[in-house]
Amino acid sequence: MQKSDRIKRAIAFYVSVVLFFITLPIVLSYSLGYKIDFIALKIYKTGILYINSRPSGASIYIDGNKFRDVTPAQIENMRPGTYKVEVRRQGFYPWEKDLEVLPNMVTRADKIILFPVTQEMNRVSDYPITDFMISEKSGIYYLTRDGLFRSNFDGGAFKRLSAYSDWPSQIMGKKISPDNNKFLYFTKTNIFIAYLNPDNSIAEEPELARIEEIFVSRSRIVDVFWYSDSGYIIVVTEREIKAVELRGGKSRNVVTLFKFNSKPKGLYYDEYNDSIYFSDNSVMDIPSGAAPSSENYLYRLDLRQKFLDSLKQLLMKKETGDIDEG
């Protein structure tokens, strides 16, 4: 090796060694959250604030002082303590919170949503309505004094589907079917179905929708759910849980699945598993002579395929009794 190469190599080596011993404490202290004050020759523990917002690009104020960067921003070398942090962007409501910065730690406020001051609001349709129904698949349904109408989500393609206009004054609830071909609405005692694609080929004036009352309950209806095949509805009244078959017209089948001991307080329908959860103070099989419990318990009624099979068996055996006329 030539002498010049030896000298160059020696210089490179010693520069590397010096560089290592200079870089290491700086990078390590920065990584660990320490700040070196070279003038005072002191080391401070610091913390990091990480602020992000949706939308981004919002100004950050810390104890009233504007930070140089906008969101998303990493604010380093912060002395431990509590800071009043504000995130502002023109046209949006500000976000404000007291955040605590801990030594050698990162405080994150990175899920801030800034809501716009002026929300975009349009009248979808100029037609006066009694009520409406939304189907993710087919658009908006308008329940009006002149009949049932449908439009797309912008209010366009507005079209009358049916002349039916006898809408109840107090609709307690409404639900679109899983197959999106019909929706139900109900009052305290009555349940109606709107068929959105009825087969009217033999009618003189075919309508694009057909509304039919399918069930009248003797007790007050609490809620109604669609069974997953869209061919049944599960009706929960203050007294019972019933399954109502849509097909069959006047002779449609109605099965009482459960009778409550008391008015149900909690109710949830798991539409993926066709199971209904409810509270009741009864037990399924009360031993003879034993007093009913006054405590409420949570029950789950599984209505999956085996329910359909058992229902068929039940229907074959029974013609009356638990089977009501809708």
Partner: protein
């Protein structure tokens, strides 16, 4: 004493593997239980590594400049009268080239011999020895015979000899074949009554194509070296024979090996012979040839000389290239397997550590400081080879993966990815240098290769850390583990050299 020897040998065999596993194992365990410690270690190691790589890159640039300068030298002209003051004239010098052969194709050997034939050095002063392994089969012997017929008139002497299989104390390694060939050469040299010191011998792999200036350059270094028998002469190995056709994975690894060899020429205190190299025939005879029971014959011969001459032996770099084949296959997977096997064989050079340490134990004439320095360099080289890429690639993210939410909430947990990324960006300088030198060392693009290949040759470097981890470190760990457990590699896994027809 025999028991003591066994104990020490096993101890030294265990040390490299033990250190490697201790490092990787403890880092892995501590990533679970003390992620903060591992994160601090990773950052410290990253800084050390980036600076070290930067330093080595500078050495690479220095070496490259030397190589470029040396290209402009007319070595033959420089030889004229150069050796007078050192007692050896060019006209008195013979060069022997020994090819230990196993199953290499005719075309591979033909290209290597053709390169020698085209050298700007008097062929009347060159002796070729093809030492053919008997177990290689008749076809190889027939190839050697064809080559004898083709080239015998071109050289001072062309010897072909068959190395019998299963000689006592020999393993089926290249060193045994090379030793056999050298002994046959000695018989010839004795018959001609040529002074051993007036012969410089080059031991080449079958695919080694020497640069046109190689023998002139070697002659100059040899005749002008007053301590010519106390030096080996190491050219820069490049892998240009099939570099355009090779798979990127293989290319990166071989280029990396070339670059490391160039860097080593700048670090003579730890410079060791590698692959094809040359030495005085007198020295070779004095030390009783290559070890016949070690896989890494290329480096083991250096250590044998070092111990024989009580530490008074060195390697002289020659800024002239010899070109070899990239170990590649058509498929990526096959290439990876081939590379893995080749790199594991290279990494088996770790066997030199117990060999050298045992030599040190029994040698009182080498100064203790020199022993410590050389032992450290040897151990550090193999240790670093095994662990660095694993630490940078696989250990570095572990604190974040296993550290849990609390660790990620700490400043260091938060900063670790960005600090590592910044350090990686700094090391892009090295990648840029590697790309630059690759382009300069590349042979002209063959007519059948598309120009777009040039883009691949640049982009390939960006996957180098991963390739280094998978095919650099892993074979080294494999070799060290085998040695540590005493499961010696007893079969020399020859990298198949053949050309597409």
């Amino acid at each position: 004493m025999r028991d003591n020897n066994y104990f020490y040998r096993r101890l030294f065999e265990m040390i490299p593997g033990f250190l490697t596993w201790l490092t990787l194992g403890s880092l892995f365990i501590f990533a679970f239980i003390k992620p903060l410690w591992v994160a601090i270690f990773v950052i410290t190691f990253d800084i050390y590594w980036v600076i070290r790589v930067g330093y080595l890159t500078l050495l690479l640039l220095f070496a490259y400049r030397r190589l470029e300068k040396a290209k402009k030298i007319d070595w033959l002209k420089k030889c004229e009268g150069a050796g007078t003051q050192y007692g050896l004239q060019l006209s008195d010098l013979y060069q022997a080239v020994l090819f230990p052969i196993y199953k290499e194709d005719f075309s591979v050997l033909n290209q290597s011999l053709s390169a020698i034939e085209q050298a700007n050095y008097s062929k009347e002063k060159i002796i070729i020895v093809l030492s053919v392994e008997e177990r290689g089969g008749d076809a190889v012997w027939e190839n050697a015979s064809r080559l004898l017929e083709k080239y015998s008139a071109s050289f001072f002497k062309f010897i072909i000899t068959k190395h019998p299989d299963g000689l006592p104390n020999e393993m089926q390694f290249k060193g045994a074949n090379a030793t056999w060939g050298a002994k046959v050469l000695k018989d010839f040299v004795d018959s001609k009554k040529i002074d051993y010191e007036k012969i410089v011998i080059s031991c080449f792999d079958a695919d080694t194509c020497a640069e046109r200036e190689y023998f002139s350059c070697l002659a100059y270094h040899y005749i002008t070296n007053p301590r010519r028998t106390r030096s080996s002469y190491q050219p820069i190995p490049v892998y240009n024979n099939n570099i355009w056709q090779a798979r990127s994975i293989a290319r990166i690894l071989e280029l990396g090996a070339s670059f490391m060899q160039m860097i080593e020429t700048m670090r003579l205190e730890k410079f060791v012979t590698f692959s094809s190299h040359s030495m005085s025939f007198k020295t070779l005879v004095d030390i009783d040839y290559w070890p016949v029971d070690m896989i890494s014959d290329d480096s083991a011969i250096y250590w044998k000389c070092f111990l024989h001459f009580n530490g008074d032996y060195s390697v002289m770099p020659m800024y002239v290239t010899v070109s070899m084949d990239v170990a590649t296959e058509k498929g990526v997977l096959d290439t990876m397997v081939k590379q893995y096997k080749q790199k594991r064989r290279w990494a088996w050079g770790v066997e030199n550590f117990p060999y050298v340490m045992m030599g040190f134990l029994h040698n009182d004439k080498i100064p203790i400081s020199k022993k410590l320095r050389r032992a450290f360099h040897l151990l550090e080289g193999h240790y670093t080879w095994a662990v660095w890429a694993i630490i940078v690639t696989f250990i570095a993210p572990l604190p974040l993966i296993f550290g849990g939410g609390l660790f990620r909430q700490t400043a260091i947990g938060y900063n670790l990815p960005s600090v590592s990324a910044t350090l990686f960006r700094v090391s892009l300088f090295t990648l840029g240098t590697c790309i630059f030198i690759t382009m300069r060392l590349l042979p002209p693009r063959p007519s059948g290769v598309k120009p777009q290949k040039m883009i691949v040759l640049i982009l390939q470097w960006f996957v180098s850390p991963l390739v280094a981890a998978v095919l650099g470190s892993t074979p080294a760990i494999d070799a060290q583990t085998h040695l540590m457990l005493g499961k010696y590699i007893v079969h020399f896994n020859v990298t198949k050299k053949s050309r597409e027809k």
